[in-house]
Symmetry: D2
Subunit: 339 residues, 4 copies
């Protein structure tokens, strides 16, 4: 079987990472590559690492250009996917790396993004309870945000009963998480040698997505204090997550070990090893470690992920594999590029 795919937003970071992974996928043929303002330019000008696609030219992001493919990946700013998806056939698998269809609550959408909610699609985090089966038959998939991916996987095994339903997440991210946005604070001269928090006080748009995931797993409302921090590296998120333990005699490591025992991409590290983002660079792996702070009776989980890979494009490919009935790990790796 050869799957013909298209990528909308191929000149951005998510689009580039999708293509990097798809070039190594044995069952994929790369079709249309589209862009907005960059339409008409050579892909190589934006993605100099994709040598096998050096002769490709970007075409405009239109439903016409995206039609006729088995799978269409959307890596677009939010607000653009619903209209395009509506014009692609129901049998086309549409995998949206943007935010449009992640939130299930229209009120949350309006509060955090503004405008009308475009409706929710099956959520592409198969490691959450019950999600994998839904994805197997999906033809529309909403890829999770990068922070929600790592935060939800870090805390999902705990919120079901181990801890009180109020969690704190401080997640440090590399600069590619902001996309190819031309903002002064994202310039190399300012990113390097500096650390900065942003979206403090629960104002980052990934907050409701984390809340939604954890609340669903917990079966009741979970409050999330979320702070993202920008650090000087290209890729990677390290999330430090904590919550007060309930009175329990459960072995927290055993709970985590069991939760992810059969997962190909989520790894609880051996005791004494702590996750680093360098170790997951370019890979689809999530590395986790858990401990308990005895002075506060508080669970602390540290998790590392590559925001562009498992945090975006890797998850998209993983979901494509599931939806197409391919082995879930095809074209994906748990081996990072380090150092």
């Amino acid at each position: 079987m050869t799957v013909r795919i298209a990528v909308a937003g191929a000149s951005g970071y998510a689009g580039g990472e999708l293509l990097r992974l798809l070039l190594g996928h044995p069952d994929v043929e790369i079709g249309a590559l589209t862009a907005g303002g960059n339409a008409g330019t050579a892909l190589l000008a934006h993605q100099p690492h994709l040598l096998p696609l050096a002769d490709r030219v970007l075409v405009e992001t239109t439903a016409e250009n995206l039609a006729g493919h088995d799978v269409v990946f959307l890596a677009l700013p939010h607000g653009h996917s619903a209209e395009i998806a509506a014009r692609l056939g129901d049998d086309t698998l549409v995998v949206d790396c943007g935010a449009d269809h992640r939130l299930t609550d229209p009120g949350a959408w309006e509060r955090w993004y503004g405008g009308t909610h475009a409706g929710s699609w099956p959520y592409g985090l198969p490691e959450l309870p019950g999600r994998r089966e839904v994805l197997r038959s999906a033809r529309r998939i909403a890829v999770p945000g990068c922070y929600p991916t790592v935060s939800s996987l870090a805390l999902a095994p705990a919120v079901g009963g181990l801890v009180e339903p109020e969690v704190t997440v401080v997640a440090v991210s590399g600069a590619s998480g902001a996309g190819r946005s031309l903002k002064p604070n994202l310039l190399g001269a300012e990113v390097m040698g500096s650390l900065s928090a942003y979206g403090v006080g629960g104002t980052h748009r990934h907050t409701p997505e984390i809340t939604q995931n954890l609340s669903e797993v917990a079966g009741g409302p979970v409050k999330v204090s979320f702070t993202p921090v920008l650090a000087p590296l290209p890729r990677g998120i390290l999330a430090t997550c904590s919550a007060t333990l309930r009175n329990t005699d459960e072995d927290v490591r055993a709970v985590y070990r069991e939760a992810y025992a059969d997962e190909p991409f989520v790894h609880l590290l051996p005791e004494g090893h702590w996750p680093t983002t360098g170790a997951v660079l370019g890979s689809n792996a999530v590395q986790l470690q858990v401990t308990v702070d005895p002075d506060l009776n508080r669970l602390v989980v540290v998790a590392a992920v590559d925001n562009l890979a498992k945090g975006t494009a890797g998850a998209a490919v993983q979901c494509m594999n599931l939806a197409l009935g391919l082995p879930e790990t095809t074209g994906l790796s748990t081996v990072g590029v380090a150092p």
Copy 2:
């Protein structure tokens, strides 16, 4: 007045930063520069940025070599300062950048460092309530740890009543915080492009120091969940601190504004501006911002500091100024080197 100073541990990062600042101090004359294993080598081999001291050779760290100065700065591994201080006259001002004399509780010392407690010295964080006056007459001063400096200043205005006495601190630090230790995980190839947490679960030795500070300010026990994260930059700490607000109608920004209104080095930024470590590089400033997450009724404070400057050597110079009756800001700046 010219103050003659000596620096023990002049080949390390803290020693280098002390000398950098002291070279710009108008009232200081630089005397003996000592080292352990590096004794006998040129200072320039270790501190290539200190051109005016290019002809200096390091001598051995002994009480004899340090004697005869008005001020002796100790930038040594913990466990070494008590013996040296005992052999320097009581009228010599000894400023210890190490941990030996920070903790007041011998039990805490034994738990966290092991061995016998050498006793506590006046704690060199003049911005904490009541500390400045003590430092004016001190002849032995314990300079705070870098994480305790930024964490304590970030939360001190709150723990007296604004928030519940359980706080969470996730502090991201540059690599110089670990000193010039030859460990594989501190090599450039491994630090760059990676983020890692360490001392997770309350096991970092700065935890009891933060706890001690905040508990004293609060007038009762404060529990501290502290996680340090190593990030790829040479200097700087960004601390994200949070705690549940008590029922209060106090204006939290007003509380912070008043707390530091007269402080020359601690700055609550104007609303809408958030601290970055790049902005305090090389300076003695602490930049703060506060907000409240309405969904959790949780105070969130972000603070930035240069771990080597206000976090170590700048604080040492500030304390020297106080103890010698010099203007507190002499030789120090609130202007960072950015970008």
Copy 3:
């Protein structure tokens, strides 16, 4: 004496560095701060490290706003300084950090920049033979480009006779050298973890400026092969310069030692020490080292400079000091901020 200064282009990197240095200058009072598109915004939004100027608002860059100061620093894109300077009195010292008045040959200007040459001003590199005296009475000064500063100082002692008149310069620079330009290749995510050459083959605009300097020192044409490389650091240039030695029995180190023996900012390092940009961060120092490759009979000089300090703003302050009859080193330092 208090000198009242204005800075045009205060929201950019050069403008910020000028203000950082001028805040530490004992004889300066900071007056108007102007900007183009950023006029009307708070300086702190662009220069978060300049806390003492936190209440300043940028005004528009007009001759009216710049009038009435003793010194006006121009940190503007090229093509803007002549008109402004013409409207400021002849007794106002105008120090231009831009390129407009560096080249003496109108033909070179037209080739490299296009348009009409605005005429040349005294060139602000006092360490070149004969330049210091001219600067003492200048009221218009053209600050050298960052690459020309380090390259010219590295090779000036050699081109007068030690080497053949064809030199190779490969200069690696941090990202601030490109200014606050919003270009994708300057984004943190792309700068970090990558190295790139640009302006290869003699096409960078600093090439004719280096050629002009070295040819004047040599008293005849010197050919310059110049390649700049962008590296992942905020500041600093390291230039590797080489040329074939003439038949000579001169001691090249002695030649360099003598050339800069009385210079406060240019330092030939002791043998065995090699320059690093980290050691000059934030300082006005140039660090040099020279050697001879015996297999090729080729002189190799390595030089380090902070592109924003001695490479731009530090040179501007140094020239102001000269032109105003102040001690040349006032407000400047040879001590870097390291590590």
Copy 4:
């Protein structure tokens, strides 16, 4: 066919990169993993990115432990490979990533490394004229140094006649090139934010290797002025190479295009595109661009490579493929991990 391989020096950077690539090689089974001082420890402690080998423990580097494999990769300090190779059967393919067998001239070995030359092995740079065929039947292969790889490929098409036989190479490298050496100047705090040249004046040990390669290609002596520069990134080398053009009317781009037209890993970029190391991160590709500086009639070539991949481990796998009769590109990619 499944090839059973062993890696000696599996705890180092070259060893880690070998294993990363070999984990993705379809025909390889990973056998013994050996180390020196790290024998007895878990591989994961040194290579946290190699999750599929998380249960492996390092054994001692002895001929006994390495025996019984089809291929043995040696990633050891120089001076260790000859003795081990002598104790492995002649039918075992031994691929040495160290320097021991690269130089053909015993005198050069003695001058640059000291001690007795262990003899030369077939040189693992198949893209040089005539080398590929030799490698197909080799059972001992010397993998080139990282700088010689990129420098030789950048200049090989030119030294045969296009240019005068004196070339200048300034090559900027990431920190992993120095290996996991515990030296202060390789610490993250010192590498980040700084640039430094080393081995200046032709004293770096890769100089004779570049000279050997280019002289053989040229059919006569080529003089090489080589300066390596350390920059703050984990991986990657960008080499700027130049030489005076001979009187020629040849189209230099055409010469380069033809030279590498059939090479799977060496890519002359389309005009207007310049190599970046970020684009080759983790890949086996070499990206090249050439131009002529008309003012000096000088050829300038810029080349980018990942020092650990094509610069070391990728070349080793490529050579293994050749020697075993596998398709040369098996398990290797030209797609980098960017940004």
